[in-house]
């Protein structure tokens, strides 16, 4: 194949891979970006094949040089270090908006979705959401999954919706995230916020602290919430059923291996409050198909006693 075409093609596919790679690191998980990164990777492999074919002679020369061995050693060392994830590497990965502490996995499949979080080798949290009859894979609902502490402050979003306009479709989660951003800023500025004070110890924004409390005498209860909404789904009573909130409380002092998330209600704006707040209300007769979006949501906690 023509040298100039292959070279330019290599450079351009590389550019796409590089940009999506950085985005995948920095931004929260996005199917578009990761999909692009992976598939463009395959194209890149093909083009690199042609590129190698075009440059066989210099390549052979390189392989015979002493740089070959140095390169091999450096690559092997880096691969081992990153794969083993010692603390500095973990910290670096922790900076990623997508990989987070590099400990969670999210998977969408025919039956629904599975989210896994493993803050330590002996602790694995799995959230399995089984989709109900009203869930249409061709037009999936918007949903968010997040963790809150016992002061009801958002700690970490485990799954965020793809749509940009999620304030309208998932108002409760959006509100919680905004509160969290504010609390985090306030905490950074040294202001006492409820999120990090209050009756129960709540001194952290790191989910791992709640799942693996340092002091077993002072467990930090937390809850996992799901907000789900199929925009524009009419029921007999309304043109658009509001989003629904499911939740489960996890008490590390009294752990259960399996817990089902319960439907707790729907969000409604309390305009009289200053500033207006989103509160949850019990479901009423307006809901029909929205109640069928989720069949069940099961939280499984697999934990062995940590080695002393």
């Amino acid at each position: 194949m023509r040298r100039s075409f292959v070279s330019l093609m290599t450079a351009m596919t590389f550019l796409v891979i590089a940009v999506t790679g950085v985005l995948a690191f920095v931004r929260p998980f996005s199917m578009t970006i990761v999909g692009l990164h992976a598939l463009m990777g395959f194209v890149f492999i093909g083009v690199v094949g042609f590129h190698l074919a075009n440059n066989l002679r210099p390549l052979k020369r390189y392989l015979r040089s002493k740089w070959m061995w140095i390169n091999l050693a450096v690559t092997a060392a880096l691969t081992t270090a990153i794969a083993l994830q010692p603390q500095p590497v973990k910290a670096l990965l922790g900076l990623s908006g997508n990989l987070g502490p590099a400990l969670d996995r999210f998977e969408l499949h025919d039956e629904g979705l599975t989210y896994q979080y493993t803050p330590a080798p002996h602790y694995k949290l799995t959230l399995s959401v089984r989709m109900g009859d009203a869930f249409d894979p061709a037009d999936p609902p918007e949903f968010a999954i997040w963790i809150e502490n016992s002061s009801f402050y958002h700690i970490k979003t485990l799954h965020r919706p793809e749509a940009a306009d999620n304030e309208a479709s998932l108002p409760y989660w959006s509100f919680k995230v905004k509160e969290y951003e504010k609390a985090k800023l306030a905490a950074a500025a040294g202001v006492d916020v409820d999120a990090i004070s209050g009756a129960t110890k709540n001194s952290s924004f790191d989910p791992a602290d709640y799942m693996l409390p340092v002091d077993p005498e002072e467990p930090m209860p937390y809850r996992i919430l799901v907000e789900i909404n199929q925009p524009g789904d009419a029921s007999e009573a309304v043109d658009d059923q509001p989003s629904l909130i499911y939740s489960v409380e996890v008490d590390n002092s009294d752990p259960h291996a399996f817990q089902l998330l319960d439907l707790i209600g729907y969000p409604q704006l309390e305009e009289d409050e200053q500033p207006p707040q989103w509160a949850i209300y019990y479901v009423d007769q307006r809901f029909d198909s929205a109640l069928e979006l989720i069949d069940s949501a099961l939280l499984t906690i697999d934990r062995d006693k940590p080695a002393d």
Binding site: F152, E249, S253, D262, L263, I264, G265, A279, I280, Y281, Y282, V283, D284
Partner: protein, 426 residues
């Protein structure tokens, strides 16, 4: 003082206390005057003991007893209420736990009736706000109703009066025995001796005092939950709208005058120490320790924590209950919420002392294990029980039977007529 010296006062003690409370408040604010009405109470017996003949005697005018008495009165029974303290409401008012709950569960009201009527009216009269039961509280207890304890106590008296309930404060049973057509209960108070002949007794003393006096079995934990002394230091506050402070009184025991004295002394001493330590003003102090737990009856049916947390629908359920399992210990309290949709019920059998006739209890002394009781003891549940006990006792008195043998359908019918919510039919 010889008993007969005190006669005129004794006759009028009811009106005195009924109007005296309101009068004192008004006198402070203005120059209004109130006059104690002079009406004869009871029948004078030759030995200067007042004798009353009633259908239903309620002992203990606390959270449950007040409602039981009003209900019995409204159901047409001649009712008398004997209370050892100076006002109605018990733990709610004298103890200061003026935030009754829980009338709702999962977006619906599950307890209504006379207790709710009284709570609602006292909040409305006070310009307060009732919780919105459709809204999910972040914690169960946030749907408790902040009530003005002073108003509640007076309104309760008004409702007793309207229902024809005779009130006797500063009195308590000293002896009780079975007689041909029911019970003879001898009560004493300062300057008062009273003999009450009644067909039915409703024991709402919190610790099943009458049940114990009659020799029926009772249960009691070795280590009871602490009591609490409620107080407020700092700035002025609006009673009922703001939470007062409280401190645990461990070992608090409401069994008798000596243990209650001890609990009050301990509580007040601790408050004084706090005031000294914090160098603030003492703005409020309840006159008595609030007791969480003492004796419970051994009933025909025991409500276990499993019955409670599974929301068991008893065949003879007479009222709903709702609250987390809420055991207070030395290390504090960690409430365990009920699973969504769960609404526990209270069976009539748990209010009947085992093997008894013509005797029923209501309130925290119902037959239950300690964990179930930690949830069942809350005020709305006590009120629901009180109302049911009032119906069962008045029907039993009218038909010459015992509460356990009154057809359940009859109890439900009268309860419904008086605005109560029947389990499973809310």
């Amino acid at each position: 003082m010889k008993p007969h010296d005190a006669q005129p006062d004794r006759r009028n003690f009811l009106q005195h206390s009924l109007l005296g409370t309101a009068g004192a408040g008004m006198a402070l604010a203005s120059t209004s005057h109130v006059t104690v009405a002079a009406e004869t109470q009871g029948e004078e017996s030759p030995d200067a003991t007042i004798t009353n003949r009633v259908d239903v005697l309620v002992v203990g005018g606390g959270t449950a007893g007040t409602i039981a008495a009003i209900q019995a009165g409204r159901a047409g029974a001649k009712t008398m209420l004997v209370e050892r303290g100076s006002q109605l409401g018990g733990t709610m008012t004298t103890g200061g736990v003026a935030f009754p709950g829980l009338f709702d569960a999962w977006g619906k009201q599950v307890i209504a009736g006379i207790g709710w009527e009284l709570v609602r009216e006292s909040v409305e009269l006070d310009g307060g706000q009732l919780p919105n039961f459709a809204k999910v509280p972040q914690r169960h207890w946030q749907n408790q109703v902040y009530t003005n304890q002073f108003l509640y106590a007076i309104l309760a008296e008004e409702k007793c009066h309207e229902a024809g309930v005779e009130l006797a404060y500063y009195e308590f049973p000293q002896a009780a025995k079975r007689v041909a057509d029911g019970w003879q209960v001898d009560c004493v108070g300062f300057g008062t001796q009273r003999r009450i002949l009644c067909k039915q007794i409703i024991d709402c003393t919190g610790g099943a005092e009458v049940v114990g006096m009659l020799g029926f079995d009772r249960l009691r934990e070795e280590v009871r939950q602490p009591g609490s002394m409620l107080f407020k230091i700092g700035e002025e506050h609006q009673p009922g709208r703001e939470q007062v402070h409280r401190l645990y009184v461990h070992g608090a025991d409401s069994s008798n005058s000596r243990t209650v004295t001890q609990a009050n002394l301990t509580g007040r001493r601790s408050v004084l120490a706090k005031v000294r330590a914090e160098k603030k003003r003492l703005m409020h102090l309840q006159p008595e320790t609030g007791f969480r737990e003492s004796y419970r009856i051994v009933g025909e049916t025991m409500v276990t924590v499993n019955d409670y947390t599974s929301g068991r629908q008893f065949d003879d359920a007479i009222s709903n209950a709702f609250y987390p399992v809420d055991l207070h210990t030395k290390t504090g309290v960690r409430p365990k919420p009920l699973k969504p949709g769960t609404v526990p019920t209270i069976p009539l059998g748990a209010l009947i002392p085992k093997g008894s006739r013509d005797l029923i209890v209501a309130g925290r002394c119902l037959c239950s294990d300690q964990l179930a009781n930690s949830g069942l003891r809350v005020q709305a549940s006590c009120m629901g029980m009180g109302q049911a006990a009032g119906v069962a006792a008045s029907l039993a008195a009218q038909t010459g039977t015992t509460p356990m043998e009154v057809p359940l359908a009859e109890i439900h019918k009268v309860l419904r007529e008086h605005g109560a919510i029947i389990p499973g039919k809310a």
